[in-house]
Amino acid sequence: MPKVPESEAGRPADYGHKHHWNKQSIFWDLPYWRTNLIRHNLDVMHIEKNVFDNVFNTVMDIKEKTKDNVKARMDLAVLCKRRELELVDLGNGKFKKPKAQYTLSASQRRAVCEWVSQLKLPDGYVSNIRKCVDLNTCKLQGMKSHDSHIFMERLLPTAFSSLPGKVWNPLVELSHFFRDLCSATLKVDHLEQMEKNIPITLCKLEQIFPPGFFDTMEHLPIHLASEAKMGGPVHYRWMYPFERYKNNIYY
């Protein structure tokens, strides 16, 4: 295996089929590297933010950003038995995308945005989320990663309470999973329970959302609990402090 790949064309044999190695990382030169249980950390900050963005945009059915687009519905017809979600041929060369139970209606979307625009939260807890709301388009704009973190863990269950129970419950489970994972003190038995629960939560989501929703970021939470069990609390292993450090050297 090359230490430094020379170009994208010169990738090792079987790349993409049997493995994804494109080099042997220089860290393997360290004599103790192979005994380390965790060599690289999955970054909870970015995973949480991306999962939140995907969930929020899909449930709020924001155009261009939702994962529940026409192509996702076409894939759904290939892979799943969900007749009620497949595109309906209207006969004149046009198709209709039926409304799914996991999206909110226009009036419900408006209610969510109005609720957020009136939120009052403790000083220093989160930035002023009220300013992120655009009531005309029913969107949240310019949220920082930490705002997503708070929204995912604290506000999501209330915001989406108008969803049917079958959809709302796994979303709340996901929200609680992240909240428990990010707490300053973790308990081993609690983590073991979370490790068992997160596949069930994700399976429940798989029964609701279309296949196109599940990109890599929706898959990674499944490894987070076991990683926390080995490496300890996530706030020693996530990017927030480093992002702040970067912010301070910015000139």
Binding site: W33, T35, N36, H40, N41, D75, P199, I222, G232, Y245
Partner: protein
């Protein structure tokens, strides 16, 4: 200043553990508010002058707001006598109160001693002995530099100046330069102006170049290493004299005209390396951090509760694998973070450099991961993301880490006043998902993007969306008898899941 007995509560606001306020403070603020409510201002307009740190008795607010401010920020400095609220300073106090100049002098002594302490931290114990002995033989170059520094820390800025020494003035001006991003030109002009206003015998270094020369001997230096424009190799160690990149055959230097119409060779690209070992040594030479570096060893964790990485399996496994390393609690465990960073405005030409930051994990939770203990180690220059070639730039760091693992460096520990051989090990890296691919070598794009499931990943590419989907990849993590595994309707149609969860390989089976 004398504090009246009934006003001691004013500056004891927060409880010792940092959470919540003192009860006496709550009661005190109430007495203050009820006192202020007797004043004319309140009787006429229903408001009070706010004595908090921010408002400084200049803002007029309602009693509720004032109460809020005082709980959040506390009283303004030295407001023992509520002079803005109808009280008068007792006449006798004015006489006993020490005159201000002496006060400043006291402060000065403290400041100077803190600068001297800083130099002592740099110098280590052998220097202190050398200083006491006053030997006749002339000191070596390094020691001479330290003596010069100490001299700068002791000599007043000009004859009769009590508030500042040469070193303290220089360092404070440098801090201002760094905080406000002043240019060298601006710094030079400010120094020029200051020197003009002070008496002519002042000893302030006359420009930025001389300032740097003075401060340089405080240590914690950096190295500049030339690199290939395309990031293929470093001109480093045995390649230090090469003129052309061995891989892409690009020139190392470009020619540039200087002011005197001479032509000079200038490297086309350069990386910065800030050696790690001196920074770790400095942690042990300062009394503020030295004893905390053993926290992970002294702390007895509660069974089943995790508050620090040292409580966990990854750390303990490492200890078991290398008992010699674990036997010395002063050995340092490190984490490494790398992330893209665009130093210039977004509207300009895109430029992304990659800082590499290393942080020690020995410290207690209240200090660990704080900005003071993050060491910027490498700056990988842009303009483009180094991608998989990031390893080229990590070479100096890996070489130093190997040295720190094999032999270690001799370090003076101020908490136990002895020398020891400090070793260090890199525990793990912290990175976002794209950087994960760059550092680990397992590309995190495409079908096999999950670096933990690796080749056992069941992800597939969608026919219409053309994207990678992890749909129906999570049933295999369930127990074998879970009903979801047999469900043919709600997941992929007509499919059952029989596979066990993917096996996670330990490091020695990967390579």
């Amino acid at each position: 200043m004398d504090v009246p007995a009934n006003r001691e509560w004013m500056y004891k606001r927060v409880l010792p553990d940092g959470v919540g306020l003192e009860n006496t403070f709550y009661e005190g603020v109430e007495t203050f508010i009820s006192h202020a409510c007797k004043l004319d201002l309140f009787k006429n307009e229903g408001t009070i002058r706010c004595p908090c740190v921010i408002c400084d008795c200049r803002q007029i607010r309602t009693p509720n707001e004032v109460e809020d401010h005082l709980y959040k920020k506390g009283f303004r400095e030295n407001y023992f006598y509520w002079t803005c609220h109808g009280e008068k300073r007792p006449a006798s106090i004015n006489i006993t109160c020490p005159p201000p100049p002496t006060d400043r002098q006291n402060g000065c002594v403290e400041k100077v001693s803190s600068y001297e302490a800083m130099i002592m931290d740099v110098a280590g114990p052998s220097f202190a002995q050398c200083q006491q002995q006053n030997t006749d033989e002339s000191p070596n170059e390094q020691t001479q530099k330290l003596f010069n520094l100490l001299d700068a820390a002791q000599s007043p800025l000009f004859e009769g100046c009590t508030s500042h020494t040469k070193l303290s003035a220089t360092l404070q001006l440098l801090t201002i330069k760094a905080e406000h991003n002043l240019s060298q030109e601006a710094y030079n002009k400010i120094v020029d102006f200051c020197r003009g206003t002070w008496p002519s015998d002042n000893c302030m270094p006359s420009d930025y170049y001389r300032t740097k020369k003075l401060v340089k001997s405080l240590g914690l230096s950096y190295e500049k290493i030339d690199c290939c424009v395309n990031g293929c190799m470093l001109f480093y160690k045995h390649d230090i004299n090469e003129k052309v990149c061995r891989i892409c055959e690009q020139e190392r230097y470009t020619l540039k005209k200087t002011r005197g119409n001479k032509v000079k060779q200038v490297p086309r690209k350069r990386m910065w390396y800030l050696p790690l070992a001196p920074r770790l040594q400095r942690l042990y030479s300062s009394p503020a951090t030295a004893k905390n570096m053993k926290w992970h060893f002294e702390n007895v964790p509660e069974e089943g509760v995790l508050i620090h990485p040292s409580d966990r399996e990854a750390w303990k496994h490492f200890d078991r694998a290398y008992p010699n390393f674990a036997a010395e609690p002063r050995n340092v465990r490190l984490g490494l973070c790398s992330d893209g960073f665009s130093p210039f405005n977004m509207s300009g030409r895109p430029y992304s450099c990659w800082p590499v930051i290393v942080t020690p994990y020995n410290l207690p939770p209240s200090m660990c991961m704080k900005e003071e203990y993050m060491f910027l180690t490498i700056i990988i220059p842009g303009r483009k993301n180094p991608k998989a070639k990031i390893d080229v730039f990590l070479q100096p760091l890996i070489d130093e880490l190997k040295l720190l693992w094999d032999t270690g460096v001799t370090t003076y520990d101020v908490s136990s006043s002895e020398n020891f051989q400090m070793k260090a090990a890199l525990m793990w890296t912290i990175n976002d998902f794209p950087a994960y691919g760059m550092l680990s070598g397992w590309s995190t794009a495409g079908r096999l993007s999950c670096p933990i499931c690796m080749e056992q990943s069941q992800a597939h590419i969608l026919d219409n969306g053309g994207k990678v989907s992890f749909f129906d990849c999570h049933r295999q993590f369930l127990p074998m008898d879970h009903p979801y595994r047999r469900n043919k309707n709600n997941f992929k149609k007509n499919e059952q899941e029989t596979k066990p969860p993917p096996q996670i390989f330990p490091g020695d089976q990967i390579w």
